[in-house]
């Protein structure tokens, strides 16, 4: 999978959220979007997911402009901001509900993902009883479970303790080895140091590529 972002700008009324952003993202790499809150990272993630449309420019998935086709990007899963799960279902039921939309996976894959992110002990607990960290893990689980080609994670380590964060990092590195394209956004660069192959720095809508030190 190759994502080409070509001269993309996004305006909200008089505010320039993103200005003339261009980059090419390819499979088998982890990309880090770093910048302070409100710098435009989440807007770009939403544009990539086709939840928003660019004011100018285009985003191509293997050469296809999905926004023009009124589609969402193929084989892409995202965790952007607060995941909106149903509070009166258990963690596992929430995943089952999402899995049933496309019916690509069954009970086995859901169980494996729950185990992988470390939610096995609480899979049958109602979502509203989950801690912030558990909610975050469930959000990551829904991204992973259907084995997508593109994984988009906005502030994935929010609310996670050190061990859980380490576990998620290991999972993401394994996903990368399998050829996945992973985009991580965070306002804390230290989160990404060990993980990312390339960095993009966001500053009030201006995006610049940073060399990995």
């Amino acid at each position: 999978m190759k994502i080409e972002i070509k001269n993309v700008s996004k305006k909200f009324k008089d505010i320039n959220a993103l200005e003339n952003v261009s980059m090419t993202l390819e499979s088998g790499k982890i990309y880090g979007f770093v910048g302070h809150n409100g710098s435009g990272k989440t807007v770009l993630l939403k544009l990539i997911c086709a939840f928003l449309e660019p004011s100018t420019g285009e985003i191509l998935f293997d050469g296809v402009n999905v926004i023009k086709e009124n589609s969402f990007p193929p084989s892409t899963r995202a965790l952007i901001e607060r995941p909106n799960f149903l509070s009166d279902l258990t963690g596992k039921e929430n995943l089952e509900l999402l899995a049933r939309i496309q019916n690509k996976i069954g009970e086995k894959e859901i169980e494996e993902t729950i185990e992988k992110v470390g939610l096995k002990q609480v899979e049958n607990r109602l979502y509203y009883k989950y801690s912030l960290g558990m909610k975050q893990k469930l959000g990551i689980a829904q991204v992973l479970m259907e084995n997508p080609d593109v994984l988009i994670l906005d502030e994935p380590f929010n609310g996670l303790d050190e061990d859980s964060a380490k576990n998620i990092r290991e999972i993401l590195l394994k996903e990368k080895e399998q050829g996945k394209l992973i985009i991580l956004a965070t306002h804390i660069k230290e989160d990404m140091g060990l993980l990312c192959d390339e960095f993009y720095k966001f500053n009030d809508g201006i995006v610049t590529k940073e060399e990995k030190k």
């Binding site: 589609s71 952007i80 149903l86 049933r100």
Partner: protein, 248 residues
């Protein structure tokens, strides 16, 4: 089928637990109670009471508004769930799912309204089940009431489908404005001056003499079909037009 029901049941449960929905539900029950408790015609026939209330201004405007709010609430809640949306592959599927959800939630509201209204009206009217002729029609008020209720149900549902599509095309504020303009026409519009075929929806929430029942039935079916065609055209337009959600 069971899986599909589970999928929608979970979403319906989530939406009906929101505070906004509870407020809307409260107003639906109030409208049912007002109708069931206060509308007692001189001869106290149950079916006349049903027709009187459901062709009144308070009912038509109040009912339209609460169903509009229920529809917009469903749309907003649905679009807030991006993990769900991205799995629907394209925006045509998103709109299809949303319309089904709107119909299910509004159908549930309509059912609750009907149960409360009929229950309270029956207690209020006790055993006054007499039927009276409707104009010079060949049917009596009991059959006409059932026809009236089915037509009202179908019209409300089609209008809510249209509002759902308008929400996707124009966003919530413009949809509310369009509906308010439509609702404001009602008090200044006199259905008696209308020509043979009636285009405004209010005519179908009023008891109007068409000369014979067959003619009213024919016009009602034609009007409903017309609205279905409008909905289909709007659906095609909405799925072709590039739309993004402010809320996402």
């Amino acid at each position: 089928m069971k899986k599909k029901w589970f999928k929608n049941k979970a979403l319906i449960d989530a939406i009906t637990k929101t505070t906004r929905f509870k407020v809307i539900f409260f107003f639906v029950i109030i409208i049912a109670l007002i109708g069931g408790l206060t509308d007692t015609p001189p001869r106290k026939e149950l079916f006349t009471a049903i027709l009187n209330y459901h062709s009144s201004f308070i009912f038509t405007v109040g009912f339209s508004l609460v169903f509009l709010l229920a529809t917009l609430n469903t749309c907003l809640e649905f679009y807030a769930n991006d993990t769900y949306l991205i799995r629907l592959k394209n925006k045509k599927n998103v709109l299809k799912h949303l319309i089904i959800l709107v119909l299910q939630i509004n159908g549930l509201l309509f059912l609750c309204y009907a149960i409360v209204y009929i229950l309270v009206l029956n207690i209020n009217m006790l055993d006054c089940y007499d039927t009276i002729p409707i104009f010079q029609y060949s049917i009596k008020s009991n059959i006409y009431s059932i026809f009236f209720a089915i037509r009202a149900y179908l019209l409300i549902m089609i209008f809510m489908v249209i509002n759902t599509i308008l929400f996707v095309i124009l966003k919530e504020n413009k949809t509310i404005i369009i509906n308010l303009i439509y609702l404001l026409i009602f008090p200044i519009y006199d259905p008696l001056v209308a020509i043979h075929f009636r285009l405004l929806p209010w005519d179908y929430f009023s008891v109007i003499n068409y000369g014979c029942f067959a003619k009213e039935l024919k016009y009602s079916i034609f009007y409903i079909l017309l609205l279905v065609i409008v909905s289909i055209l709007l659906f095609i337009f909405a799925t072709k037009k590039k739309t993004e959600r402010k809320s996402l």
